[in-house]
Structures are given as structure tokens and as C-alpha cells.
Subunit: 335 residues, 2 copies
């Protein structure tokens, strides 16, 4: 069972292992630098479904099925599935996963959802409440644009700080195992809100939360950024990453040397016109559940911090003049 | 730490206790049969805020503060807050709770959220990852109507199967303690979808999930409905409750004698024009966190099953012709 370390961190005692993982993405992602690392990509963003929402549901279902297959487990053996997404009432998850018959616990952490679902899965395996859990999330450029911004047909101009929502899903099977990456510690974040109101600048809204959670973890564990092979943020993008460096530099913490951001890894920003980078729950999920975990399995990365950030707003809250609260959850993964 | 019993149930080993609880409601709820049991009620459904969404956020914040006060704990001592609501991107929770500085884990279970947040809180206390957790949820008639149905100004006619969304919030503080109600076991539900498509008949959509989870729990624990003082469903209302009896009667399971539904308890259906009963996350939350837990503390109820049900749909999924998946989570609470 987990052991609390410091104020905000839980260190796992049973080493919940990532037994299988998968990432399923869309066309633009297949054309980016990580295209070859995904388990499956679709040329058609509808995946042959009648709506983008149904397409997103299918991404999630396929990612879960693929991850379970790679882990060598069936849905009937999974105790809990933790799933969430950006759509109103998390319908990508509920409709995508309803046929699996796995006890379902919907999570809402906006783009921090992959870290949150991994945290919950690790907690329950470590606590003995579960033998096997699945963590999954997704996003889809077209379903997100029409829900959060403008109808695609409108052809709105995007600002330079805007990010491109990843069409993709990542899933991980967590259980007991040896010789595979495992979750070593978890720091759940507090909501941070410095008053950013620009819904086209999520990186700026989320950076303070990332700084806060990283600070909490380092302080709780008495470690330094240099102790980790990689500090991987979710989707701060170009703007948010720079702000994170700036906030941390005021406290003499430097992470530039071993920091990467999933939103900057997934696309070629010179060639793919994504402005400040990729975003969406599916961004960090598909990057973690492909190239990163593969590198860990090969021993090329041995001790990483995966920290996904979320902007906890809605179009309604923005229309009512509210600022954008952010949250970041951190998962220390080791091999 | 939790111990699995049967396929779907976890029995707690450390007896996570409900150290404090509170319910804050609106005017219509104050005029119902449980009006005197709530900690605070508001005559004005805006609570003096500028929008209904902000009013709902405030309900949640006040419920949490009141529950913490009654438990004798401060926000700084709480390890995790599990919160969710019906609004898009769960903004009642994120905006209501952002100032508390408690590590935040957003949950989405629609109207099953009170059971889900209690389950997660109990798991983490039982597993040793947390000493103190808060479980909270809310709903608001006006914010729900305009988001899920019609603008209030439209004055749409309600169908006989429709339910009335409760304006209210319930919160519970879960930790280690003696002499107070504690969570004895948890059964997390699987998604059930029998093809109901009528968004004005949530009771029918949720009843199959309730039957399934209750069956799972009884089978896992080898107990009968008659072993419990009360089987309390969340908000099946008149229609859903009858359907639940019907489904269970086919399997020779009878719960009528000790079943109650929060949606039928909170309003006087003769006098208050709520059609099939109350609904919304705040319905089961405010009923549990007032009259029910008070009766348990007095020893008038000693062993109950609290089973909140959720309809995992959105207006978008309904507009796209989808049916309504349901889920139900069960919490066995004892004294």
C-alpha cells in the first residue's frame, strides 16, 4: 500500500507495473515525428464513423483493446477502468467503453487526465483493491474545435499562442509485474489560477500548476530535476514551456536540460502549422503510451517524471468572464 | 487496505469513517419534507452570485467548508478532494473548490457522483494513501435545465417521466475515526445500456445499472436485501424505482420493503409539482449527507446500501441518436 512522503506525494510500495500500453492516432499525428511509434493511425479522421464524437469513442476503445492485448489480459480480468476526455459529460469515454463490461470510473482532469487515470490505477493496485486497472484518455481535433471554439466550417484564424488538439488516444494496463516500467510515486496537484483569461493560450494558464506540482514533488522527495532522465510535461506547448522555465528560474530551479513537452514532440512545428504545439488529453496520452514507454522498456530512459497539465475551464466559464484554473498531476515512472 | 470479495466488491479493512458531512440546498428543497435536515438553505437560487453556474460552485464550496468544520478539520489537513458535477467540464467543482488548495481529482459519474467520490475517498483512506479525503458533488436546477434541456425562459412543458434537478450540494469528510458511520464495502458499477433514448426519462435509463450493481454486490457478499436496514438509490424517481423492482423480481429478488429513493424523499410530489421525483448529483448527495447519515449516527439505521445511479449521456450524444448508458456505484455504510 502507498506511503505518504511529505505533504503531497505518495510513494508506491508494490511497484504497480505498466503491463501493456497503446496509442492510436489520426492522420496529422501519423505525419509527425512520432508517426511510426503509434500502434495504429487512421487516414480518415472519422474512422468510418458517422460523427467526430463517435470517432473519438472508437479511438479510445481501440487503444484499450490494443493495450490489453499487448498486456495479455482480457476485459473480464480488469477490475477498474479509469477514463476521461474533454467532451461534455465525457462521452468519448462512456460511449467508447460501454461494451467492455469493466467497472467504470469516469475521471475529469482536462488535459491532465492521462496522469490522473494512471495515478488512480496505481493507487488501487498498490492498495490491493485491484489486480488490474486500465487508464485511458483521448481527444479529437474536430470534436474539440466545435465544442470549445468554432465550427470547423467557419474557418476561424488561429492565434500564435493557440495549440492544435491531438486526434489520438493512449491507454495503459496497470497491474503487478516485473521487468516493465512501474509507477514509483504520485503527486496529485492542487488547482492554480493566476488569472489568465485567454482561452487561446492554455499553455500560460497551465504553467503555474505545472511549476507548483513539480516543486511539491521535488520538495517532498528531496530530489533535484537532474536526478531524472526526463521531465515530460503534457501539453504546455511553446508558450507554456517557456513560462514554466521562467517561474522555476525565480526559485533557482532549472529543468531546461532534461525537459520535454509532449505538445512539442508530437508535431513538426515547422512543417505542420500547429502554432504553439499539440494539446488535448490525447496528446500526452499518445506520446507517453508510444515512444516514451518504449524507450523505458529498452532502458534508454530509466527514471522519468510524467506531468500532465489540465485547464479546468469550459466555454461557459470563459463567457462569464472567469479566468482559467489549471492543475497538474505528476507520475514518477521507473524501470 | 481493501480486500476483494467476489468479482466486483471491495471490503474495507480499516473502516474509513465519515467524520463530518453537510448538505446545502435551495428554496424548493427547503420547502420539501427534508427541509429542516439541511445545514443551510437559500431563498434565492442565485445565492447572490451573478450566474447559476457560480451559484452552484458556491453551494459546493459551502458544503465542503461546513462538512470540514463539523469534522473539525481544516483544508490544509485534507489530502485529496474528489469532486464532480453535471456541468460541462465539471466547472461547479473546479471553480467552487479552486481556492481551497486541496489536491484535486475531478470525477465524472453523472448522478452517481456522490457514490463515486465516496468510493474513491474510502479506497485511498483504506489503502493508506490518504489520511483525510473529501467527497463532494452538486447540481442546480437552473444550470442543469439550460445546459441539458431548454432555456428556462422558454417555459417548456415537462413530461410525466421527467424529474426535477435538485439545487443542492452534499459533502462528506472521510478519514480514520471511531463511533461514526463508516464505509464497509464498495461495488463499482459497469456501464449498462438497454437502449433507452428518451432524455426525459432518466429513471428508465438508469434502472438496469442499479439492478446490475445490486445483484453484483449481493452475489459477491452472499447477502440478501433483507440483511440491510435500507437500500437507498440515488435518483431513480417513480419510474426508475418501479422498473428496478420489475427487473429484480424476474430474478426473485424483492427490495420493496426496505428500498427508498432519494429522488422520492426530497420533495412532496403531491404539493411540489416535480413529476417523477428529484434528480441530479445534488439529490442523492444532499439526502445522504443530511437525514440519512443523521439517522445512522443516532443508531436508527445501522447498515445501509447507498447506491447512486448516473446517466452517462450528453445533449450531443442524444442529438446524434445514441441511447443512454447508465452506471451505478454501491457503498455499504455501517455504524
Amino acid at each position: 500500500m502507498g506511503k505518504r512522503m511529505g505533504r503531497y506525494t505518495v510513494v508506491m510500495e508494490r511497484k504497480p507495473a505498466i503491463l501493456g500500453y497503446a496509442a492510436i492516432c489520426g492522420k496529422k499525428e501519423s505525419e509527425g515525428p512520432l508517426g511510426a511509434a503509434f500502434d495504429l493511425t487512421y487516414e480518415d479522421t472519422t474512422l468510418g464513423e458517422k460523427s467526430w464524437e463517435k470517432a473519438e469513442s472508437r479511438l479510445q476503445k481501440e487503444a484499450v483493446n490494443c493495450a490489453m492485448k499487448k498486456a495479455g489480459v482480457t476485459a473480464g480480468a480488469v477490475d477498474y477502468i479509469f477514463a476521461g476526455d474533454l467532451l461534455n459529460q465525457c462521452i468519448s469515454s462512456t460511449f467508447g467503453l460501454r461494451s467492455l463490461g469493466i467497472p467504470f470510473l469516469g475521471q475529469y482532469g482536462a488535459c491532465s487526465t492521462m496522469a490522473q487515470t494512471l495515478a488512480m490505477s496505481s493507487f488501487l493496485v498498490d492498495g490491493g483493491m485491484a489486480n488490474l486497472c486500465v487508464a485511458v484518455t483521448s481527444s479529437h481535433f474536430c470534436s474539440a474545435e466545435r465544442q470549445f471554439r468554432f465550427p470547423l466550417e467557419y474557418g476561424g484564424q488561429r492565434t500564435p499562442t493557440a495549440q492544435w488538439t491531438v486526434t489520438g488516444s493512449g491507454a495503459a494496463v496497470v497491474g503487478k509485474g516485473e521487468g516493465v516500467p512501474y509507477v514509483s510515486a504520485v503527486t496529485v496537484g492542487r488547482i492554480a489560477d493566476l488569472g489568465i483569461k485567454d482561452a487561446a493560450n492554455m499553455g500560460a494558464a497551465m504553467a503555474p500548476a505545472a511549476a507548483q506540482t513539480l516543486r511539491d514533488f521535488l520538495s517532498d522527495t528531496g530530489t533535484n530535476p537532474q536526478d531524472y532522465d526526463l521531465i515530460l510535461t503534457g501539453d504546455l506547448g511553446e508558450v507554456g514551456s517557456k513560462l514554466l522555465y521562467e517561474i522555476l528560474s525565480r526559485e533557482n530551479v532549472s529543468i531546461q536540460e532534461n525537459h520535454q513537452d509532449c505538445g512539442l514532440l508530437i508535431y513538426d512545428r515547422q512543417a505542420q502549422d500547429v502554432h504553439a504545439g499539440g494539446s488535448g488529453c490525447g496528446c500526452s496520452a499518445s506520446v507517453l503510451c508510444s515512444v516514451i514507454l518504449k524507450k523505458m522498456q529498452k532502458g534508454q530512459l530509466r527514471n522519468i517524471l510524467f506531468m500532465a497539465t489540465g485547464a479546468l475551464m469550459s466555454p461557459t466559464s470563459s463567457q462569464q468572464g472567469e479566468s482559467i484554473p489549471g492543475v497538474a498531476h505528476l507520475i514518477n515512472i521507473r524501470i
